[in-house]
């Protein structure tokens, strides 16, 4: 399939998805959707498939090796995640034992419960990509991944060819590219503009907002789903807000705690599809999954949330 054909199909899919989701409106007016009392879901622009807006990351929290007690707790964390309507789980071969631990702790009926599996390819050798992907699939104990992302743009051109072949053959649904900590945004922007990717993963939170300038508008324009990583800056943001009461606007958006407000802030950006907080605690998982269940803040309230957090 030529790039033109792909782009044409993509345009039709994206247009359909956006219209169906009511997202053809200007970026400031875009909203997600939810069933009554259920979690917020947002569409993947390239397909229209809806994804729970609060996902789960595995950086550090699932890299626990062979510790049996910790593995038992991670099983409970995943149960709480799926019980609250969670779906998207993101990992990487870079995260030590995280993929192996996921394979041991995912519920047997995870696929039926809405698992959206996302991992990464992370090797500087393009020829080694398929073997690494196979190894990851074996560790997760899944027949295939929903989303494969090129980790931190490493050897991205070689891996992109592999992933596009896999997507064309139907062994993969979505392709993505990741970055974090605000690195290599310019190169990422170029890939987003030129290449037929479905997802981009980048750092976005209440204090790291550089992506708002160019990448998020571009993602919206190009119909690329956005995964926001480091939503809590590795726990530093909730720590900063610890013990501080949530201002009155918390009630307006259905949040009881600062971590919930921080997640709601992220996924209320119209271009953001989901956030992937990581936790090793069941109570924190339940708290995270209770975010974004009320009305989403408008642009003015988003600025107020950011200002109030900055004043902490």
């Amino acid at each position: 399939m030529s790039r033109f054909d792909h782009n044409r199909r993509r345009f039709l899919r994206v247009s359909g998805g956006l219209i169906a989701a009511g997202l053809a409106a200007p970026i400031t007016g875009a909203r997600g959707d939810r069933r009554v009392g259920g979690p917020l879901t947002k569409p993947i622009p390239s397909s229209g498939q809806r994804l729970p807006a609060i996902g789960m990351g595995t950086w550090i929290t699932f890299n626990i090796g062979e510790d049996p007690d910790a593995i038992a707790v991670r099983r409970q964390v995943l149960d709480a995640f799926f019980a609250a309507g969670g779906g998207m789980i993101d990992s990487s071969p870079m995260y030590g034992s995280a993929e192996a631990v996921l394979g041991r702790t995912l519920p047997a009926d995870a696929l039926q419960r809405g698992l959206f599996s996302a991992t990464k390819v992370w090797t500087g050798d393009g020829d080694a990509g398929p073997a690494e992907i196979d190894a990851s699939r074996a560790l997760w104990r899944l027949p295939r991944f929903d989303l494969l992302q090129i980790h931190n743009l490493l050897a991205w051109e070689a891996h992109l060819d592999t992933l596009m072949d896999m997507r064309a053959q139907g062994s993969l649904r979505y392709i993505g590219v990741t970055t974090s900590h605000g690195r290599r945004h310019r190169e990422l922007e170029r890939i987003m503009a030129d290449r037929p990717i479905d997802f981009v993963q980048l750092t976005y939170n209440v204090v790291d907002r550089e992506a708002e300038d160019r990448l998020l508008p571009l993602a919206h324009e190009r119909g690329i789903a956005v995964i926001a990583n480091r939503p809590f800056r590795r726990g530093a943001l909730p720590q900063r807000a610890a013990g501080r009461p949530l201002p009155g606007w918390g009630r307006e958006i259905g949040c009881d705690t600062w971590p919930q407000a921080l997640l709601t802030f992220i996924v209320s950006h119209p271009a953001v599809t989901c956030a992937i907080p990581a936790t090793s605690r069941v109570d924190h998982m339940r708290e995270n999954m209770a975010a974004a269940r009320g009305p989403l803040p408008d642009a003015a309230l988003r600025e107020r949330i950011a200002a109030d957090f900055a004043a902490l």
Partner: protein, 240 residues
Amino acid sequence: MDWFSYGPADLVPFSSETWLGLFGRYNQEGLGWVVAGPATVLVLGLLVRFAGGRTDWLSRASPRLLLALSGCCWLWIAWAFFHQAVSTLLWAADWLAWGFAAQGLVLLTAASLLPPARDPANRWPRVVGWGLIVVALIGAPLLAWSTGQPPQGIGWFGSGPTPTAVGTLGLLLVLPVRLGWLLLPVPLIWCLLAGMLGQVLHDPLWPLPLMCALVALLGWFGMHTRPSNNTNHGCAPSGH
């Protein structure tokens, strides 16, 4: 990959709880304690022989035996700690294992070579070396315990990389060693990495390995610099 855009925290994909838990399982199930106990006793015994200045076979052989023993410890840590235990958590563990294995082999090589004549000049680096050995054998574990670290998560000379690296630096300042310049870099690099790892994991003792490395480096330069005297205020190389 643009490695220089990564900070230390980006390269440590586990929590302090996981790290301590791994140490605990390594000490209890992975024979860490089984190795550390005899290694510590043997090192202490050989150091006593070495310091006693006697002329019996064991005392004369003690420098070689100490180097050989520490070489075996480095090889053990390479295999049992980094390759077997840490590699499940850290993709770079096997690189570290190769580094520790290389250090072990060079230590064994150094142990097989005749030691050089001891230079009586500049005794203070030797005092520094003894201090580092005390830190490695007793000080570091006691300090870790005093900061609330669970006993099973504490590293010891012979099985834990940091006490073994610090102890080896001490031995290099105390013993007459050939290939000393070749034996210095890996322990120094590990002390640097251990300090960074400790800082990322919020270990209150994170500066300790860095300080030990700095002191060892100063001691090394001191050992290879002739003391100034009344007629010559400059420093000349000792010719080692």
